[in-house]
Symmetry: C2
Subunit: 352 residues, 2 copies
């Protein structure tokens, strides 16, 4: 049954299982040492079968970015689900409440109106939904902006039928190696969370979960006194631009493509931006003497110091894993150069 990667369709998305498993073990070890929990973010792969491999140990549930991801994970039997996003559309609220009828569901909320809508949907479905007050910790996107605002919202959630106040959430965005003052920015975010937490506790409101950080702030998240759990996703596959952050994770995700045209000092591959997410830069070619010059919709141009034969298979490391997975219907699991099986990316396209 096992076949070599040279027989895969071109282009195909590949996941190196040994590296993927090593990344999960490395994360487990760190989480154990620091006494933190993890809620792997499934926006990275949108693949329930991979999410299940990440769970267990200190990873007690998953983080989703969209209702579509939540539904896909619940349909695969994952029953502890954080939706780390604000939801106000009537149809989406109903869908969340339906999932909450059979699974533990936590949802981020940053407005009174949002809490009212979520409460009404929970009551209609006869569900209980747990709420994390979303605190803006520097991303300037969603989240309440002050401790008094958080206290008022928490009080409302405590009184809202169908809602259970479970804690806080604060996502600081991607603080890469190159970001100036990254540690200071992360610490400022944690300081905001601490202020909100202590304002709530002063009012007698218990704060259970404090969820935040990601792969780019994994090490800082482990050491943060306020965070109880980390929402990392990319750690399991890694990306080139997360190098330099002293993380123990190895790059596990590639796209395999084929040389379709050659010149004296270059080659063209049959994979482009419709197969490879490029938001963090060009992919890297795993071909000695070759480097990626440019990428178009269906083509990647290589500069080559040695001749390359037409039909050569070339593996590319994408710079952005979540948008790469979202372009494919399935991912092929490999060990070395042997393909073991493919699994469907069930939540591909589920931004709904």
């Amino acid at each position: 049954m096992a076949q070599g990667i040279e027989h895969l369709p071109s282009p195909s998305l590949l996941l190196d299982q040994d590296r993927f498993e090593d990344n999960i073990k490395a994360a487990e070890n760190l989480l154990g040492s620091f006494g933190k929990l993890m809620r792997p973010h499934v926006k990275t792969h949108r693949t329930p079968e991979l999410a299940r491999l990440q769970l267990g140990g200190r990873a007690r549930g998953v983080t989703c970015a969209t209702v579509g991801e939540l539904e896909a994970m619940a349909a695969a039997g994952i029953d502890d689900l954080l939706l780390a996003n604000e939801i106000v559309s009537p149809d989406k609220l109903e869908r969340i409440a339906a999932v909450a009828a059979t699974s533990r569901v936590l949802v981020a909320v940053d407005s009174m109106r949002g809490a009212q809508l979520l409460s009404a949907a929970a009551v209609r479905a006869g569900s209980n939904i747990e709420v994390l007050i979303d605190v803006d910790v520097g991303l300037n996107r969603c989240g309440v902006r002050s401790a008094p605002e958080a206290v008022a919202l928490a009080r409302m959630v405590l009184e809202a039928p169908g809602l259970i106040l479970a804690g806080l959430m604060g996502y600081e965005g991607r603080l890469r190696a190159a970001v100036a003052d990254r540690v200071q920015k992360f610490d400022a975010g944690c300081e905001s969370l601490e202020q909100v937490k202590s304002a709530l506790e002063t009012e007698g409101i218990k704060v259970g979960i404090v969820s935040g950080a990601g792969t780019s702030t994994f090490n800082e998240g482990l050491r943060s006194p306020v965070l109880t759990e980390i929402q990392a996703g990319t750690y399991a596959m890694m990306e080139a631009d997360l190098d330099g952050l002293d993380l123990p994770f190895k790059r596990a995700c590639t796209v395999i493509a084929t040389v379709i045209s050659v010149t004296s000092d270059g080659a063209v591959l049959d994979a482009g931006r419709k197969s490879i997410g490029c938001e963090n830069g060009l992919p890297e070619a795993l071909l000695p003497g070759a480097s990626v010059l440019k990428i178009n919709e269906e083509h990647t141009l290589l500069s080559c110091h040695r001749p390359v034969a037409l039909g050569t298979r070339v593996m590319l490391f994408p710079s952005k894993v979540p948008t790469t997975f979202n372009l494919h219907d399935r991912v092929w699991l490999i060990r070395g150069n042997v393909v073991e099986r493919s699994v469907p990316i069930t939540a591909r396209g589920r931004s709904d």
Copy 2:
């Protein structure tokens, strides 16, 4: 049955049918005036139902970028198909030959080896495949680089069983309004095509089709003495960065999203890079007083000069239509603010 766009799932991909039809008519009129044919490029939408609406009149067949697109269009009954790309993978060659058993198929070729492989696949399937010699006209991607190379390849194609030499192809890439010397670059490309054409004719080799140009060079393509047909795709939907090229096409494609969080001077929408292609820049918000500041995977941040209510629906013009369509499973056809129906984007993800 008809519903308002405010009831669509969020985010959703929308196509304004009136504008789409106007764009097709405008293209037809221009093609007629200049006596040119068109082969609409379906990489723009990957949607057979839209391709069929573009055909007729001077649009005699479609252009595809991938074998997956070719198969999806053929499955929908479109029987004149140009694959404007080099193919060397054995499985893909077989799939092309299978389509060619029942439809007219033309394929770009730029190497002897490529022509041999295509010929062998055609023979095995008992098909005839038409060949366009691909000429590099300045994109520095695929394509033969000289007239002698083209002549040698054409001779080989003429003798190869299962292959029919149909003409030339030259794609010069996207010469946007901002590209320096765009007309000179386009003219240099046409000059290359003319040189190759006359070298072939000198050898007694007939050149039928000369296919090239696109939406960004539509006007130049019409006036080119060498091109017989234009491979435009985006013309039917348009994009902001093609403004300034004096084209009669109107923007017809939007993504509708919902305000999920508000601040005193901003709002956050529930659509991001996983729903909107951003390769040519940020999308534009169709909301008075609002402009797009930033886009993340599932969020678009707006700066707003007036208060915006939670739950407000906002339409966004994507800067890149082909990668936007490729993120969605269906597109909703609207007239004004009324939704008529949705059609499946059958070839979504078909970069295989």
